[in-house]
């Protein structure tokens, strides 16, 4: 089980979702992935993508730089 990071800043939706999807495909169940985005739409889209595809969102929020941070646990 390992932790990974993905920089999806400056990308507009749906690119952050696509990048997260492609990264998750490389990971094993139980791995975690922290995605950093600047498009606020990612706050809706990445969790929706996770719900659909059976991954868990451990944390989602916005930091003081208005970056969206989402931590995903890869489903089985």
């Amino acid at each position: 089980m390992s932790h990974h990071q993905l920089d999806a800043r400056r990308l507009l939706c749906p690119m952050p979702v696509i990048r997260a999807q492609n990264k998750v495909q490389e990971l094993a169940p139980g791995d975690t992935l922290l995605v950093t985005c600047t498009d606020p739409g990612a706050l809706l889209d990445i969790p929706a993508w996770c719900r659909i595809n059976g991954h868990e969102v451990l944390e989602a929020g916005v930091n003081e730089d208005e970056e969206v941070l989402i931590t995903i646990r890869v489903g089985g």
Partner: protein
């Protein structure tokens, strides 16, 4: 919302013995991939397949021109309520997986060299549909799926959904009769899934034409109450203003090509071309300015410092006279538009930054033809 979710069910014949094509046992659940656009039609087509016990997963192609999401994300006034991605939302309502595929690079050839030409703007709809079904066909071959479904309806769109173009899509995509359009299947020749009995043709539909009534009625019957209303096309290429900006870009460059940054920037800001050899992109509000800031390194850019104003990117080549004009335009779009002089900071690509004191252009000095 009263929507019924369907989960996997096992399909059990009846298969015609003589035509059983495959190695799979009869009870194997058949799998289809559905082209999900986010609109109602693909939603209905998918639900119809789920209702017949087919395992369906969605596929959505991101070409760079899709209307989904991003312009809303850029503009500040929409920020409090970011727009949902309709394809994801539809998939969630249907209870299916969705695969979003980045086809930005491959799609360029579709836009630049459409074999079947363009629609009323720079929308190459027929080539686009062939391309998407071809990609979906490649996908089903890689993933062991049996067929492809779309929400197409005969006669619904002037270019890609005509009776005579429907077979073109089947042929040129390579999907042939593994492409099923549940909403109008009954008025088209039977496809493989129908002939093999994977899908009951009798339970499919015979919709045609531009009317939306049958779709709305079917949605009601299926318990689908909330759906995105179709607005012309599914991408910016059907938009006249967008297409004319794209055509201008090609003309100014003397060649037809684009990068993803080009097509993104066409969605943002006011675009003015005061001279054939350069254009200006002027942020309209804070969200756009912030987005344009990401491009500062790549472009000569300017902004007013004596008054609040937009960030302006200059795309092309500009001599000192042109830069003066650009500064006067930047001043025009700032809060100092009525001031005697406005100070503008100019960051010329590959040069030291400098300041210019300029007289803002008046409205009358900006010909409408400058606006793209």
């Amino acid at each position: 919302m009263g929507f019924r979710r369907r989960f996997s069910a096992i399909i059990t014949g009846p298969f015609s013995e003589s035509k059983r094509p495959t190695h799979r046992p009869m009870s194997t659940q058949r799998k289809a991939v559905s082209l999900i656009s986010g609109g109602l039609d693909s939603m209905l087509a998918t639900q119809a397949m789920l209702d017949q016990g087919i395992h369906v997963e969605g596929i959505n192609f991101f070409t760079g021109f899709c209307v989904e999401g991003h312009t809303h994300a850029i503009r500040k006034r929409d920020k409090a309520k970011p727009k949902r991605n309709n394809a994801l939302w539809v998939a969630e309502q249907l209870g299916i997986k969705l695969h979003i595929i980045d086809v930005i690079d491959e799609y360029k050839d579709v836009v630049l060299n459409p074999k079947h030409g363009y629609g009323s703007n720079l929308n190459p709809c027929l080539d686009c549909k062939c391309f998407m079904v071809r990609k979906a066909h490649e996908w089903i071959e890689q993933h062991g799926f049996d067929f492809i479904i779309t929400g197409e309806v005969v006669g619904q769109r002037p270019m890609s959904q005509r009776r005579d173009t429907m077979p073109v899509i089947q042929r040129e995509s390579g999907a042939e009769d593994r492409l099923l359009r549940p909403l109008c299947a009954k008025i088209l020749p039977p496809t493989l899934p129908e002939r093999e009995g994977w899908v009951d043709r009798e339970k499919l539909f015979d919709f045609s034409g531009r009317g939306r009534k049958p779709q709305i009625a079917l949605a009601k019957k299926m318990g689908i109450e909330d759906f995105a209303q179709p607005a012309g096309g599914c991408c910016f290429l059907t938009d006249a203003a967008y297409s004319s900006k794209l055509a201008d870009l090609w003309q100014a460059r003397g060649e037809r090509r684009y990068e993803i940054d080009d097509i993104m920037l066409l969605k943002v800001g006011r675009h003015l071309r005061p001279r054939p050899h350069f254009k200006l992109i002027v942020g309209r509000e804070e969200g756009e300015n912030r987005f344009l800031e990401g491009y500062r390194k790549q472009f000569t850019h300017l902004y007013t410092t004596s008054h609040p104003g937009p960030l302006v990117l200059l795309d092309g080549e500009a001599d000192s006279e042109d830069l003066q004009l650009a500064a006067r335009l930047a001043a025009r779009f700032s809060q100092g538009k009525n001031a005697d002089t406005v100070r503008v900071e100019l960051h010329e690509k590959g040069a030291e930054q400098r300041e210019l004191d300029v007289v803002p252009l008046t409205n009358d000095e900006i010909p409408v033809e400058w606006y793209l």
